[in-house]
């Protein structure tokens, strides 16, 4: 049995469609232990989700649960919940069924269900309760306003003192007619007495005090719930990721983010999910991890989204992203979250990506709004990038304007000093203007630069100009980036220096 399970897990790791059948067979084996059944069920769910058959599996598991013995109910229930989650993308639809099915379950299971229910439905119930309270208060106010003014039953003196308490009131309707008292005739004096008006201090119109609203989250119970759920999700996701089931691990984090979208735990889950994407990037050596992560996070969080979670992706995955993809995604971010506090940093990345795709004028247009005024760190950085973009465009006058503004407005002494140094250098050595096509090459600039130096050095060596070749080799070693190819070239250069020959003999 253990061997069957191992083979099935290996097939799942290979994404072999036969994995699902193997897990199903292991689960249905008569001699399987509870632990092996649980493993088989986990694998079955993962394989079905991988194959896009979560809906069919959910229906199958529901049928099995009806006929399964009591000791298998817990594992089947958990698997069913996961498959329903994969099918629907959320847990709301299955909560009523869960509630019904766990009536007779253990108290701990019932408590967990109640907590989940509280987490999902708390907001709705709170809104309903608040509405009901407001309606009641409004009704009471209206009743008070409609009550006739005068003595109440309690404050009215007894009709006949000493007779005793009045009997029970008769609730039969009695029509009473009450005539208003006769009006007294008042004669107005010829001259009204002058009564000094009381000196009332004039009310001053103070500015309304800022009311600090309590943060909507965390509420005590919800915070505990989110923390508990996060711990479970983290453990499960770590376990799944360790087994290579990265998509299932991501799904754990996605569930948490959907249930508790505005919590610190959701932010932490986004960070961990991002870590899974980074790990995939390292293993796959390529692809488009930034686009994949952003697509995933937008699918998980829906139209509302989370600027924090998306900003995490830009911060961690932008360095290796394709500039065109980065520019596209950054523009999407700016459109989705125009007022985000992460907007300036994403705009900087957008500008750099646009410049790398050759759209330097657009990059300049993106940066221009960020540099007036230049009063915080992001704007200082935007000003420096803008000045350099102007310099690379050969527009020294525009660069000078930005640098002068930077030197005058920033409170950062280092940035101001650097701006002044660059201004002095521009004044001392005017920049020769070149067309952009001459200076923008294709390919990775680092690679192109170091490869051209190396090629020229090799040509010098072939022309028996060994000394100049050595000069250029030294420069190559200083500017080339560390890589596998670099190490081979470095060894060759060392050999040439040591033996005077490029070959190994």
């Amino acid at each position: 049995m253990a061997a069957d399970l191992g083979a099935a897990e290996a097939a799942l790791a290979r994404r072999d469609p036969a994995a699902e059948a193997a897990f199903r067979k292991a689960f249905e084996a008569a001699d399987a232990t509870a632990e092996q059944r649980a493993r088989a069920l986990d694998g079955l769910v993962a394989a079905a989700i991988e194959g896009g058959r979560a809906g069919a599996l959910a229906a199958d598991l529901e049928q099995r649960r009806a006929a399964a013995p009591r000791d298998q109910q817990a594992a089947l229930l958990a698997a069913w919940v996961r498959s329903c989650k994969a099918r629907d993308g959320h847990l709301h639809a299955i909560l009523p069924t869960l509630e019904k099915d766990t009536q007779a379950a253990a108290p701990s299971a019932r408590r967990l269900l109640q907590e989940v229910q509280a987490g999902t439905a708390q907001m709705e119930r709170s809104v309903k309760r608040l509405g009901a309270e407001l309606a009641l208060a409004a009704e009471q106010q209206a009743r008070e306003a409609a009550r006739p003014k005068g003595l109440s039953r309690l404050t009215r003196p007894a009709a006949v003192p000493g007779v005793g308490p009045p009997g029970r009131p008769d609730y039969a309707a009695q029509v009473q007619t009450s005539a208003p008292p006769p009006r007294q005739r008042l004669r107005a004096p010829a001259e009204m007495p002058r009564v000094p008006m009381p000196q009332v201090p004039r009310a001053r119109h103070d500015a309304p005090q800022a009311v600090t609203k309590p943060p909507p989250w965390p509420r005590p119970t919800a915070a505990r719930l989110a923390a508990a759920f996060f711990t479970q999700a983290y453990q499960k996701a770590t376990e799944l990721a360790g087994e290579g089931l990265v998509e299932s691990a991501k799904a754990e984090y996605a569930t948490l983010m959907q249930l508790f979208p505005d919590t610190p735990q959701a932010q932490q889950a986004a960070r961990y999910a991002l870590g899974l994407f980074q790990r995939e990037r390292v293993l796959a050596q390529g692809g488009d991890p930034l686009g994949a992560y952003l697509q995933w996070i937008r699918a998980v969080l829906g139209p509302k989204g989370s600027d924090y979670a998306e900003h995490l992706g830009f911060r961690s995955l932008a360095a290796d992203a394709d500039p065109a993809v980065l520019a596209r995604e950054a523009e999407e971010f700016v459109k989705r979250y125009p007022d985000s506090k992460y907007g300036p940093s994403v705009r900087l990345q957008l500008a750099v990506a646009l410049d790398r795709t050759g759209a330097t004028p657009r990059a300049i247009e993106v940066l221009k709004p960020l540099v007036s005024p230049i009063d915080d760190e992001s704007r200082v950085r935007a000003a420096r990038i803008l000045a350099w973009l102007y310099l690379f465009q050969g527009e020294a006058a525009a660069a000078r304007g930005v640098l002068e503004a930077l030197a005058a407005q920033t409170a950062d002494p280092d940035a101001a000093a650097e701006a002044r140094r660059t201004l002095a250098a521009i004044a001392a050595n005017p920049l020769p203007k070149l067309t952009v096509a001459e200076v923008v090459g294709a390919g990775d600039p680092d690679e192109v630069f170091s490869t051209r130096i190396l090629d020229l050095a090799d040509q010098c060596l072939q022309r028996n100009d060994g000394e100049r070749a050595a000069d250029l080799y030294e420069l190559y070693l200083r500017v080339a980036r560390e890589s596998q190819g670099f190490r081979a070239v470095r060894d060759r250069i060392q050999r040439i220096k040591r033996t005077g020959r490029a070959d190994e003999e």
Binding site: A318, A425, R452, E467, A470
Partner: protein, 303 residues
């Protein structure tokens, strides 16, 4: 021996000498081709030297293995005896050279250096040009074999024998390049600096400037490298190696993180020497500068 007799003797032993010099890597130092005249009778000294050279050539053709040590020892003894016997004859230089080569094959390097010094002195008595050519060829051969310590000793010998003039400039420059190969950057900078001080317009000056820049950059002495390269830039647009100097200047500024200076330097190179082999590198350098600067500014945002 008269001049005529000496030239006759030289003419008669020329094939052997040339072969020996070829083997020693000093073909460039060989004399001019023998005049087409009737070869006079060689002197006994010349005959002895020719015989020694023939034996040496035959031995070196067989190699320098352990089995041949006895024959090298025998040749060394004979050559030493011949050198003593014909000490006053100008042809004795060949005997000293045979001794030097035998010592080299036997691994007796101090003896080889002493014999080579005697060989140079003997050549000097005959012709300074021959001596200079032999020294140049021998030092080049040593550098090619990366026997750099021996090469520096030989170059110091050359400096001692030729304290001034183009030979001294060449020896000092070559000494500097040996120090560069040995990663002795201070010594290299001193040697190149002396070349530039004493022969600022000499034929080796521009090369010395490029090597001095390399020595400074290796020691991260960027301001000195930049100042030296700026001062040495020729004004003529078609001056030799001007593009290399411009390129090294831009690179020195880049390495010193003077990015604006590097940008100006690369663009100047592209504008002033568009057909130079350094121009494509300069274009790529501008692109790399752009990438580096924007990456640096953007990366610090993400910290």
């Amino acid at each position: 021996m008269s001049t005529r007799a000496r030239s006759e003797a030289r003419g008669s032993r020329m094939p052997g000498v040339a072969f020996g010099l070829l083997l020693a890597g000093v073909l460039g130092a060989a004399e001019a081709p023998p005049p087409e005249q009737k070869a006079p009778e060689p002197t006994p000294a010349a005959r002895a030297m020719a015989a020694l050279e023939e034996r040496l050539a035959a031995l070196r053709k067989e190699g320098a293995g352990f089995a041949l040590r006895g024959r090298y020892e025998a040749l060394l003894t004979d050559a030493s005896a011949a050198a003593e016997a014909h000490a006053a004859d100008p042809a004795v230089a060949a005997a000293h050279l045979v001794v030097a080569r035998c010592c080299e094959a036997l691994g007796k390097h101090p003896e080889k250096e002493a014999a080579f010094e005697r060989y140079i002195d003997a050549l000097l008595a005959r012709s300074r040009d021959e001596a200079a050519a032999a020294l140049r060829a021998e030092s080049d051969a040593l550098v090619a074999r990366r026997e750099l310590f021996a090469a520096t000793k030989l170059l110091r010998l050359m400096l001692a024998r030729f304290p001034d003039g183009p030979q001294a400039a060449w020896a000092l420059y070559r000494l500097g390049t040996c120090h560069l190969l040995m990663d002795r950057f201070e010594d290299a900078a001193a040697a190149f600096g002396e070349v530039l001080t004493r022969w600022p317009e000499g034929p080796a000056a521009t090369q010395a400037r490029l090597r001095l820049a390399r020595a400074y950059l290796a020691q991260s002495r960027y301001p000195e490298a930049i100042a030296m390269l700026e001062a040495s830039l020729p004004r003529e647009a078609d001056a030799p190696l001007r593009d290399a100097l411009l390129f090294d200047l831009a690179m020195a500024r880049y390495l010193s993180r003077d990015y604006y200076g590097a940008l100006v330097g690369f663009q100047r190179l592209v504008r002033e020497a568009p057909s130079s082999p350094y121009a494509p590198i300069a274009r790529a350098g501008v692109a790399k500068l752009r990438s580096d600067i924007l990456h640096r500014l953007n990366a610090s945002e993400n910290k």
